[in-house]
């Protein structure tokens, strides 16, 4: 029997790569939690997330964010991916992303909660998001990639499974 909260897989990049993939995700948990510690080579990169290789416009997301001086909220609809981006851009500083993916093996559309955290000693920001993937299939794979440049050495992604009683 799986544990209540356990790692399914971890990828730590030993050299730059354009994407990280988790495949063959078992359907034995209740929720998934994805934790990504990211170094981008491009200061303008947005970090993008797709499920099951779905490239169609089935993703939407609503954000709330703060950059140290102002708060904002924005939204995408009918997008081909989820995205989390740093509030300010500095590729030498890591940022932390998380996605909680609820009922990922169920037969409803999939809702996720996302976070992005980066601080650069004078700039930076915090983002919280909610996203919807309009697809009722169980999630069996997750792709993480950058809109520009690559992920640098040391970028780490871990996928956890969370099981209910």
């Amino acid at each position: 029997m799986p544990a209540t909260y356990e790692p399914i897989a971890t990828t730590t990049l030993g050299s730059a790569a354009s994407e990280i993939n988790f495949t063959s995700i078992p359907g034995t948990y209740t929720d998934l939690r994805l934790v990504v510690f990211i170094f981008d080579t491009s200061s303008t990169a947005q970090d993008l997330y797709r499920f099951n290789g779905d490239t169609a416009n089935n993703y939407s997301e609503t954000w709330i964010s703060g950059n140290g001086s102002a708060a904002a909220s924005s939204r995408t609809t009918n997008f081909p991916y989820f995205k989390l981006t740093r509030v300010s851009n500095l590729s030498s500083t890591p940022m932390l992303h998380t996605y909680d993916i609820f009922s990922y093996a169920g037969s409803t559309n999939k809702t996720v909660l996302g976070t992005s955290s980066d601080d650069q000693n004078g700039s930076g920001g915090v983002v919280r998001s909610v996203g919807l993937w309009r697809n009722t299939a169980a999630i069996t794979s997750i792709k993480i990639y950058a809109s520009a440049g690559t992920f640098s050495t040391g970028t780490t992604a871990t996928l956890y499974g969370i099981l209910k009683a």
């Binding site: 799986p2 929720d31 939407s60 997301e61 609503t62 939204r75 609809t77 409803t108 559309n109 099981l163």
Partner: protein, 183 residues
């Protein structure tokens, strides 16, 4: 009040791995009840954590009450974004930690929440509750909120009730209660 929960056991073996984060119980909606209650919560943890995906038969919200207490024992503050504006609000002397989803419930897309209740076993202090609650329906609705709730009661928390303010929780609703151990 209908208590449609599935109790796990509280031993390490129940979760298969034990550790600091253990599953206590979970519940699913029945389609015929507007409440889900976790009762007889053990006092053997440092904090409680709840993960919920809520679906309902009509567009209501979800209220949280602890130990069956209503009255005016709760307060909350909310910071939220709806895709275009950011808002902050507060309310006091409430009958529960109310209005998690601002009438955003749906039968097809989940309203989700992550909830933490710290120091829930204290018998001398009021209880603070942290909630992240949100929903996104593509181009029709979307909202994410960071909520701080207060339960002005010094009793240990032994039950938690989620109430749909309009319609019943559908069978896709899934709520799980976890205990987090201290060292």
């Amino acid at each position: 009040m209908l208590q449609n929960f599935t109790l796990g056991t509280f031993s390490q073996g129940a979760s298969g791995g034990g550790g600091a984060f253990e599953s206590i119980a979970s519940a699913t909606g029945t389609g015929s009840s507007a409440t889900i209650t976790f009762s007889s919560i053990p006092s053997t943890y440092q904090s409680l954590h709840i993960r919920g995906a809520f679906f309902a038969t009509s567009a209501g919200s979800v209220d949280i009450t602890l130990n069956g207490v209503t009255g005016t024992s709760y307060a909350r503050h909310i910071l939220s974004g709806n895709g275009s504006t950011v808002a902050a609000s507060g309310a006091a002397s409430l009958a529960g930690i109310t209005d998690l989803f601002q009438s955003g419930m749906s039968s097809t897309n989940a309203c989700v929440a992550l909830i933490d209740i710290h120091d829930y076993t204290s018998t001398t202090r009021n209880k603070t509750v942290r909630v992240i609650n949100a929903n996104d329906y593509n181009n029709t609705d979307g909202r994410i909120a960071l909520l701080s709730g207060l339960f002005m009661n010094t009793n240990a928390v032994s039950s938690i009730t989620f109430t749909s303010t309009s319609g019943n929780f559908t069978t896709n609703t899934q709520v799980a209660l976890y205990g987090i151990k201290g060292a």
